[in-house]
Amino acid sequence: MEELISRIVVGMSYGSVYALLAVGLVLTYKTSGVFNLAYGAQAFVSGAIYYDLRVRHDLPIPVALLVAVFIVAPLLGLVLDRGLFRYLRNATAIAKLVTSLALLVAIPQILKLWFGQNPAAGTQGIVPRGDTSYNPFGDVFVSRNDLATILVTLLVVIALTVLFRYSALGLQMRAVVESARLTELAGINADRVSTASWVLCSFLAGLAGVLLAPLFAAVSDLNYTTLVVVAISAAAVASLSSIPIALAGGLGLGVLQQILDRYLPTGSVLASNIRPALPFIALFLVLIFSPALRGRRELADPLAGVDPPPPALASTVRSAALTNATRIFGVVVGLLAAYYIFFHASGQWLDIAIRATILSVIFLSITVITGMAGQISLCQATFAGIGGCATAQLATRFGMSVLVAMLIAAALSALIGALLAVPALRLGGIFLSLATFAFALFFDNVMARFDWVGGGVVPEDAPRPTIGFINFDQSDKAFLVLCLLILLVVAVLVLAVRSGTTGRYLDALRGSETAAASIGINAARARITSFALAAAIAGVGGAMLTIYERAANYDPNFVYFQGLIWVVLVVSLGSRSVEGAIQAAAGLFVFQAVILNQVVPWLADHVQPWYHMGQPPQTLAIILLSLGAFTYAKHPEGILEFNKRKSLEAIQRLIDRRSSKGGATSAGGGTLDGSETVGLPAAAGGPAS
């Protein structure tokens, strides 16, 4: 009994922080309509600053607390609101999710440029001698840090309850969430209310970040990112609407975790794999089985429907002459690149070309799930990992032809994708994204650890194929050709699906699900098909990467964080077109290899230490590319697509001017915003029909 009480007391401490984070998540969602995936990242900012001031600079606790929680955290909220989310108030839920996703990726990386890339050991709490324990009875031990955490959480919850129940500001905050435009019509300054809520939520994140720190040996962004999943579970329990239930959910999960920690068997395979993944399993189960979430749609402005639909792809509305010119240009550039790669490039550039080609295939899976189906999946890296691991296992353990293994692995990925989609798609929107996030974390922590999946201590080998007399093991150039062929096949497949029945169904569903249903479109079937197809494509890409590296290296290549970066990258550059995916993959590698590895050091006058051992190029690339995702709300078609449209407009204007001078009349004109078309009669404008 004493041990149970001890577990409950310790669980209360963890649960209090989870509860604080969950309350903050709910509050952010309720007051701004943003499900802030970056909430853990915001907590990390304050946790890191508190650590720096308290541990590295030995400042007194009140000073460190003041700066980290009462100044920096609210300031961060202010900046996020004024600089970013204010402009997203009437944006779609997906746009808000993508933006918060970009923040989740970018904020820790930006902070670590100052804080240091590696975890910092020796955390401290907000009370002196925080590790000192009291022993009220038996084996029950309570530390001063535990008590402080529980007490602070209680105070915050009471204050928030008062704020929302009894203050005008609280009422205004809730009104802004329902409809910012309607609230403004009632004479309330929605901007000011929104700012207040962001400042408050960011303060809570900062407080949670500081309270969370002493629960770990080191301050690490990974701890915050992963633990915020528990808070998401608690917020989901509360259906993202009830602060008291979110509080109870957080506390309950903290206690449950401690009790399971003690009473689950510690040596069994089940326990070894299930216990670390408890938060992710809890989140997944809550999302799938919570009746309150099932069929629920995220908060949306009722007046948002008056916004125009996204413009059609530039490639579908440009003139035939421009299309031909673009294709010729693309072929010439492609041939020049191929000539360089095959005849002049170093091994490093060949490596970059192969990886970019493989990543293009994986990115096409995001084109399908996001660009076509309009859903954000955060587990595409996991599907790629499933493809990679299955290929290695089938080829090495069962002696199967590696290409056959790749196809079976793709089928397996598709099957798992469909099985995941059946319950998850009922959720839709951000809840679907959260379910895929939970699945990715679950697979990383549980499934990938089995020998028969990830290979154990040494990743499972995967051979290169031979086709006839061509042995791809002997030549990376030959393997690049194989990769390009597979990319071509997958691209054709995606284009075929997009212009086929499923693609049209998905187009219709994106326009209006109700209208689509009224003409007999089965939304579930279309989305499950797209989910399975996306999973299969990711599986093929993962298999190719595994074959290229000759081993299923799950941890470096397929963990959830990779998936987050990929999604952010593709949606910000262009998730609706095949070339968008290819350009995103090529851009990622070329950006790192040329700009960050070559140009920047050259500009820095050949500073060798910086080049080799300074800020890692990948960090800078992630930051810059993540920041690009902030444009998603304005340009949901992607930066590349947007610029392609602008370029085509400019070229068309040039052509039109020349045609006018020559006395000829243009077949079309104007802009490429979907309302008018270029080079085509206006009646044929809009999406491909």
Binding site: E3, L215, R262, T266, R355, S401, G500, Q618
Partner: protein
């Protein structure tokens, strides 16, 4: 109709892909047991002639010029997982090279570490590829957790020297380490012997469930006490997530009467364990396999008090210092770098590399260096590490005890007031060793591997 045609087309495409794929085979060069291991005798088959070290002959090999022998390193500096900065491997290598170069170099050439690449933990394969492609080094040094570039180095037959915290190099006879092939699951004498020395009869095991190495390590501890039953396993938890709180585990161990905790966790988690043990008033001794970090221990003296650390090389605190440690400190100071565990590994690996070069002779090549090192049956860096038999220790010895070294050794320090104090050693004999064939831990031998 058009849709059906497209569907049929897609089906045909899929069938075609399957048919083509089925007709294909696999290359036969990548499997976990495919590499052959060089055979060697009980003594080096290549004799070393010190007079030849100054002989300058033309050599055509990557990274070799008339004046220099260039090597590269790929290390994990950016390490978001554990925070360990392994770039200090370069300090050990540079210190050793400075010593060599100040003595006139080797074969009329200076030894240079010309490139150190940060693999950022997850990009080892890319960093290795870039190094092979751009650095054109004669040999590559590695200190990383995720050694995904191992296959590229194996295929390039690049002489590779690894800080052996990862077992991927097994099966590749061009790869050498500061230890023989690791076998996490294999039973050993050392921990049961420590339990006996401490008078501990009940042992606890703490390991990560999310790391295969860690769970294998836990299995190895269990196997050790099963084979040498000096104590019973009273508690075992090998299912921890990273950065876990350990309150429940400590309560359970305390209730089970655990006196010695065998750990398969990183330093930060050991700190969490120590802190929780202190909080709950548990006085068991923590065995710290990853704890040889004087600064970390000094900062957290009260948490780690009485902990037992067994470094992979002779602890710096062993007195009198062996000559190799004296040289390490002397030359590290000359290049202005502090000495730590990974720095020492860099020094040992540099010595191993130079030993291979010396054995290869003045007309050396990469293959000659590899072949020469693979004839060594008892490499110790002049007593700094326990013997490695490179004629057989490229293979994972799990299930093949004959592939392990003949001796199972350890040397120990105890954390006392935030400092390491040598224990269980005899004067001039820092190592406590057992023959692998010993069926008990009752007959330890105190040894030194320093060559007079």
């Amino acid at each position: 109709m058009q849709t059906r045609t497209k569907a049929a087309g897609l089906t045909a495409l899929c069938v075609a892909i399957v048919v083509v794929a089925s007709a294909c085979g696999n290359s036969g060069s990548t499997s976990k047991t495919s590499s052959t291991i060089a055979k060697g005798g009980s003594t080096p088959s290549v004799s070393i002639d010190p007079n030849s070290f100054k002989q300058h002959l033309p050599v055509t090999a990557p990274g070799v010029t008339d004046t220099e022998i260039r090597v590269a390193a790929v290390v994990t500096k950016t390490n978001p997982a554990t925070g360990g900065d392994y770039s200090v491997l370069a300090d050990g290598i540079n210190a050793y090279f400075k010593m060599m170069n100040d003595g006139g170099g080797l074969y009329g050439r200076q030894l240079k570490l010309t490139s150190v690449r940060d693999d950022q933990l997850g990009q080892n394969a890319q960093a290795v590829q870039a190094s092979l492609s751009s650095d054109k080094a004669f040999a590559t040094f590695i200190a990383t957790i995720l050694f995904t570039g191992s296959k590229a180095l194996a295929r390039a037959n690049q002489p590779t020297f690894i800080w052996n915290i990862n077992p991927e190099f097994t099966g590749n006879n061009n790869m050498f380490a500061d230890k023989g092939a690791l076998c996490f699951k294999c039973p050993g004498h050392i921990l049961p012997w420590i339990a006996k020395q401490l008078g501990a009869t009940k042992v606890g095991i703490i390991a990560y469930g999310v790391s295969a190495e860690s769970t294998d390590c836990a299995d190895g501890i269990r196997a050790s006490f099963a084979k040498y039953p000096t104590a019973t396993i009273a508690y075992e938890d090998k299912s921890l997530p990273f950065a876990a709180g350990l309150a429940a585990q400590v309560t359970a161990m305390k209730n089970a009467g655990v006196q010695l905790v065998g750990t398969c966790i990183d330093g930060n988690e050991s700190f969490t364990l120590g802190k929780e043990m202190k909080r709950q008033g548990m006085t068991a001794v923590q065995e710290l396999p990853n704890g040889y970090d004087p600064n970390f221990i000094a900062k957290n003296a009260d948490v780690f008090e009485n902990g037992i650390v067994s470094p992979q090389f002779v602890a710096f605190e062993q007195q009198p210092r062996i000559p190799e440690i004296q040289k390490l400190f002397e030359w590290a100071q000359k290049i202005g770098k502090p000495v730590g565990e990974v720095t020492a590994a860099g020094w040992v690996l540099a010595d191993e590399f130079v030993t291979g070069l010396k054995m290869a002779g003045p007309s050396f090549s990469q293959q000659k260096v590899i072949d020469a090192l693979n004839t060594l049956t008892s490499y110790t860096d002049n007593g700094f590490i326990q013997p490695i038999d490179w004629t057989k220790q490229h293979q994972n010895p799990l299930g093949h005890p004959e592939l392990q070294s003949k001796l199972d050794c350890g040397n120990f320090v105890k954390v006392t007031a935030g400092k390491f104090v040598p224990v269980y050693a005899e004067p001039d004999k820092p190592w406590v060793c057992f023959n692998r064939t010993d069926l008990t831990v009752d007959t330890p031998q105190h040894l030194s591997f320093v060559t007079p």
